[in-house]
Structure formats: structure tokens, C-alpha cells
Amino acid sequence: MNNIRSITQKDTSRRGFFTRAAVTAASGAIAATLVPRTLNAQNAVAPTEVQVLQFALGLEHLEAAFYVQGVPRYAAADFTNAAFAPILGSGISAKVLDNLKAIRDHEVAHVAALQAAIRGLGAVPVAACTYTFQYNNLTEFLILAAVLENTGVMAYDGAVQYLTTPALLTAGASIATVEARHASFLNLITEAIPFPSAFDMPKTVAEISAATAPFIVSCPAPGTDPGAGGGTKAVANPKNGTTAVNIVTLDGSASTSADGKPLTYSWAVTQGIASLSFPNVARPEVQLQGGFGTYEFELTVTDSTGGTSKDRASILNTGR
């Protein structure tokens, strides 16, 4: 019983922080709308399925940008040295970075799936906005992540009633429960209750838009679709490089992002026997293990909207 009481107190103190965080963010940001204007009219008219999907995409853009920008700022040691490490124990804290990378990948995948669904319905997916996320350290980053994920759960729970196509409902539900898993994990590691209520709270589009407005600086004009038309371009180097040693560095740093935000990188070996220790950085070292011959590598870059581009690098190993 003592445990439950202390858990409840924790949760209360956390709510105080939420408010502070929101106020801080609001002071530095120009509120902008996340969703089409018709959706913001207090939900007087039930939104169409496309509007609901656009609303969800707006949230997923925001979440994806948050993690794509934030996760690379931290290394494994930051997590094992964090304040929560002794509280959670080594078993959990050692896996926090893995969980955050998975969460980032999920949000990027949600963006791509929603864009495809919206295009499938003949509409132009809303583009990502420019965001402001204010945190000064790992703990603040994680607390902000928890705020965003719990908001995502409330948004999906509030929006599923407006979906009528069974396949879209199932997809929406499958995303909602993943957001809930993220929220549970982030609550746990930031010392809030992972599952504070028997029923999660559904919120309206207007409520969610108000909650996310402080994070949005500006949004591109509706109708632009950078994810569909490109603008993000992978550039993998060297092209036709030669080496006499077995360790070389690949270079994807000349790649460009449609919205100017950081890209995520993924390198793969497509020819030859080679080993990449860090396949998700712009300039990974690669060990050529197959001796003399041509080695090829494929770089895939992904921007904050989920838009991707690929390019190839090749190296002739003249050594033994």
C-alpha cells in the first residue's frame, strides 16, 4: 500500500512538471495549427477519414522530428550514468537507448504509413512543420518524450470513433497501442506510473492541437508534399574509390534533406564481404574482409517526414 501511495504522489509531482514544461515551450514559440482549420472548429462536424489521417500524420511528424533530432545526441553511457539507472537497475537502463531507437523508428514508420494511406485516398499528406523542443539534458528529453507519447495515446483514442473503414480502424488501433507502449515505457523510466488509469483518456482534435501548438514554430503551406516529390537526396562516397588497406571510411555527409532537418542514415553491404560497426552514422568505418576485389555499399537516408533516398558507394580493394 505504501508503494501505491508513493506512486500516486510521484504522479502528482509529474503533472506539475508537465505544466511547467508546456509553459516554457509556449513562451518561446509561435503557436501554429497542426491540423486543417475545419478540424479545429470544436469538432462541430465529424471530421472525414482523410482529415483524421492528416491529424494523425501531423502528430507523427512532430514525434518523428523529436526523436530524429534528439536520439543521436545521446550515447549509451549517458543512459547507464543517468539518475534513473540505479532506480531501474542495470537490466532496464542498459536497454533504454535500444528502446528509444526503436521508438524513433516506429514514429518514422507511422509517418510513412499515414502518408501512403492519405495518398491512397487521393489527398496530399500534410508536410512536417518546423518544431521547437526545449530540453537541456537527458532527463528533460525523456520527460518531454513521455508528454508527447501520452498525448499521442489520447489523440488516437479520441480519433478512432471517426474512422469507419475497418482496415483504417485496425491500422489506427495498431498505432494507438504502440504509442501506449511508448508512453508506458517513458513513464516508467521517468518515474511516473506506466498505466495511471484503467481507461486512457480520449481527447478531441481541438484539445490535442492546443497541447501540441507550443512545439510548432511554423508549418509549410498546405498542399506541398515534399515526401512524394523528393528533395531529400542520398549522396554516398566514395564512387569508384580504391584502397590498399582493409579499413576505409564511407561518407554520406553530402546527402541533403528536403526540410533541412537531420537525416537518419542506414548503410548496407551489397557486394563483397565487409563489416560495418556503425551502419547508422553518416561516416561509418568499414572493414573489408574479403581481400582483393570490388565492394559496394548502399546508403539509405530518411528525412523527418519519412521521405527516403538511396545512393551507392563502391571501392576497389587492391590489397591482398
Binding site: G91, N99, A109, V178, P194, D200
Partner: protein, 218 residues
């Protein structure tokens, strides 16, 4: 592995039901399933789906009600599960399991009252077989049950016709997912293993639940 092969492969990985109990209860689940599924090819109505959800919530509620009666705070703290946890997380384990228990019981009550409000009769709880031989079996089964619950709700949501009931089901589904994530993390797994949670049909879920059902009222 049951000889008949009617259970999906997931069921064979289920801890918590003894092999002997398994075959016998499949028949029970067959009866239950027939009541819920109204013959092949007919789409279930909202009442069917509410009763289906209630069947699962009864099972989960009974699981925690029995398990937490059997194991003390101290015993749960000694589980292999609890060992990689820091002191605070370990101390919170029992409290969080108790909180999950209260959620499952609240889900049962809400589904029962919703069914009654539609003039329908809520399905009764069954008698269950749970393997509580060790604390770790208990916790492993908890993890499987919660993840199964998520797949069940996600599989059923697209079949619900009433917008209001869709919202209610979604707000339960996300809570089951929160439970599942917590239990996943405790066992060293990713909180969210997939970008999209998998879904399962009623038939698949009832086959997974079958080994836990000892006897269900007619």
C-alpha cells in the same frame, strides 16, 4: 503440442496451463467460441464483441486476483524477473501488479454494465487453470496475456459499429498495451517490439485462451 493441431503455434509457447488440462478445455472453448462467433461467415455484432472482450477481461482479472493472493510482495521481489531491477523498481513491482489487477477488474465491471445497458446478458466468468508453480511462471504468463489482449482488441476494433463503443474499446486497448509494455521491459524485451502491433482474430485469440479455461457456465 496438442495432437489435433487446432491451436496456433503461439499457444504452444504459452506458459501457465498444464499439458493435461490443455486438451480437455479446448472443448470448453469450442462451446464458448460458438456462442460468441455465431457460426462461420456471419460478422459479429457489437454485443458479441463486448462479450468477447468481457471473456478476456474475466480471464485476466481472475489471473491477477488468484496470482496476487498466492504470492506475497516478498515472494514477487525474489522472482528472477525482479533481480535485474534496481531497488525502487523492484519494490514497485507488487504495487504495479496490483494496479494492473484493479484495471482488469474495472474493465470487467465496465463491460458488464455496458452490456446490461444494451439489454444484453454479460457472459459469466469461467473456472480457470493457471500455473502458479513459480513467481516467474506467473509473471511470464502475465506478459503473454497482456500482449494477447492487445492483439485481441486491435483485431476486434475494426468490427465495432458504434462510434462510442470504438472509443471505449480503444481506451481499454491502450491500457492493455501499457501493461504489456511494462511486463515486456521487466523481462528484458523491448517495450514495443513492432511499429504496428499485430492483430489476431477472435478464433485465434480463443484458441490461445483455451488452455486456461477449465470449465465455463453454459
Amino acid at each position: 503440442m496438442p495432437e489435433s493441431g487446432i491451436m496456433p503455434s503461439e499457444a504452444t509457447a504459452m506458459p501457465g496451463a498444464s499439458g493435461a488440462a490443455r486438451t480437455a478445455v479446448i472443448i470448453g472453448a469450442g462451446v464458448l467460441g460458438a456462442g460468441l462467433l455465431r457460426g462461420q461467415g456471419t460478422a459479429p455484432n457489437d454485443i458479441d464483441i463486448l462479450n468477447y472482450a468481457l471473456t478476456l477481461e474475466h480471464l485476466e482479472a481472475a489471473f491477477y486476483n488468484q496470482g496476487l493472493r498466492q504470492f506475497s510482495n516478498l515472494e514477487i521481489g525474489r522472482a528472477a524477473f525482479a533481480q535485474p531491477l534496481g531497488e525502487t523498481a523492484s519494490n514497485e513491482l507488487y504495487a504495479y501488479l496490483s494496479l494492473i489487477r484493479s484495471h482488469e477488474n474495472a474493465h470487467v465491471r465496465t463491460l458488464q454494465s455496458t452490456l446490461r445497458s444494451f439489454g444484453a446478458t454479460p457472459v459469466a466468468a469461467c473456472r480457470y487453470n493457471f500455473d502458479f508453480s513459480t513467481v516467474d511462471t506467473f509473471l511470464n504468463t502475465a506478459r503473454v496475456l497482456e500482449n494477447t489482449g492487445v492483439m485481441a482488441y486491435n483485431g476486434a476494433l475494426g468490427l465495432i459499429r458504434s462510434p462510442r463503443l470504438r472509443t471505449a474499446a480503444a481506451t481499454i486497448a491502450t491500457v492493455e498495451a501499457r501493461h504489456a509494455a511494462y511486463l515486456n521491459v521487466l523481462s528484458g524485451n523491448l517495450a514495443a517490439p513492432d511499429a504496428f502491433d499485430p492483430t489476431k482474430t477472435m478464433q485465434e485469440i480463443l484458441a490461445i485462451a483455451a488452455p486456461f479455461l477449465a470449465a465455463c457456465p453454459a
